[in-house]
Symmetry: C2
Subunit: 201 residues, 2 copies
């Protein structure tokens, strides 16, 4: 057990250690780092966290995190509105954006269907996704959900609901990660990579 | 480069990523985690950091971080005042306290002598250490500084200054870490562990 001899340190460490992936030791290191910096350093950090939490909005179109009622991606006239990518979370949007390979728009579900965790279709943004159809613009819906049973279930469920709108549906490729050796791939991934093989150009 | 599409996220990530050992990806993960929690979660965290930075004091006797003008260790009548352990930082005090092997008192130097980094004896709490002598209570000064040239220099410098007070001086043992295999020890550590061998009981 760690001894602190200071309630102030103890409380700061307790709060920092509530963050995911941060243990008591790291929390202590961070707290002591703050003490080594001048007061504005901590003030700027605390204010940035509070402002983020208080002022963040969720885009009323795609539910991505946003500084305004409509997010900068939905507002951007340069984006290709014929492609709609369905993701679980805003984090996934940021991950796809950082690839710079996708110029379409998004829909953030805010979760995936999971009977085990008690998350039903009504708990996530499926109705609002369906309300975007029929659409004069969207030609293809790309599902970019986790390659898990929950992800596959969610893709299957929504695809069925999209049937009446006759929109093209695709999923991101499953396969061997780039730079990964074949012998370390699990057999399910390997199997799907063979089924989903692409023509060599 | 990471794209954020939200100034609020961008600013929060920038501030979090200023903390040591936290990169932009981890910072983003933490920021998004805050968004998933209710507002009081972020508020409690921000307040703990601000209170820590604003209200922390440094013990006027030993310079350890403290909630009061004198720290809880210096105030504790159960501590053995014949032993004074000299350390570089409050973090070292906390590390030694968590071993539960030491019941003496401390002196926190707030740095070690380093000509390369321009830290001279006058920059650290050496004068205030010497002002604790002659002492009717302190019988032994234990140096618990890093096993580096800077640590050794600091120990050497202070030891010379302590000569007139005829107090016993010791350093913590250097040797093979517990659980470590001999073949992986560097030769200097191994050499010192032979010179500093202890009688087998």
């Amino acid at each position: 057990m760690m001894q602190f001899s200071s309630k102030l340190i103890e409380e700061a460490v307790a709060q920092i250690a509530k963050l995911p992936g941060i243990g008591k030791k790291t929390a202590l290191r961070l707290a002591l780092h703050l003490l080594k910096q001048d007061e504005p350093f901590t003030q700027t950090l605390a204010e940035a966290l509070l402002r983020l939490r208080r002022e963040i909005q969720y885009c009323q179109v795609c539910h991505h995190i946003s500084d305004a009622p409509t997010c900068s991606i939905c507002q951007n006239s340069q984006r290709d509105r014929s492609l709609l990518c369905v993701v679980e979370s805003s984090q996934d949007v940021l991950a796809i954006e950082s690839t710079a390979q996708y110029k379409g728009i998004y829909h953030v579900l805010g979760g995936i269907i999971s009977p085990i965790e008690g998350i039903s279709p009504a708990d996530i943004q499926i109705d609002s996704l369906l309300s975007r159809f029929p659409s004069p613009e969207i030609k293809e819906v790309i599902f970019a959900l986790s390659a898990t049973m929950e992800g596959d279930t969610t893709t299957f469920y929504i695809t069925k609901k999209l049937k009446p709108f006759e929109v093209k549906v695709s999923t991101i490729a499953r396969g061997i990660p780039i730079g990964s050796e074949l012998e370390y791939a699990d057999e399910i991934t390997l199997g799907r990579s063979i089924i989903g093989r692409t023509e060599y150009e």
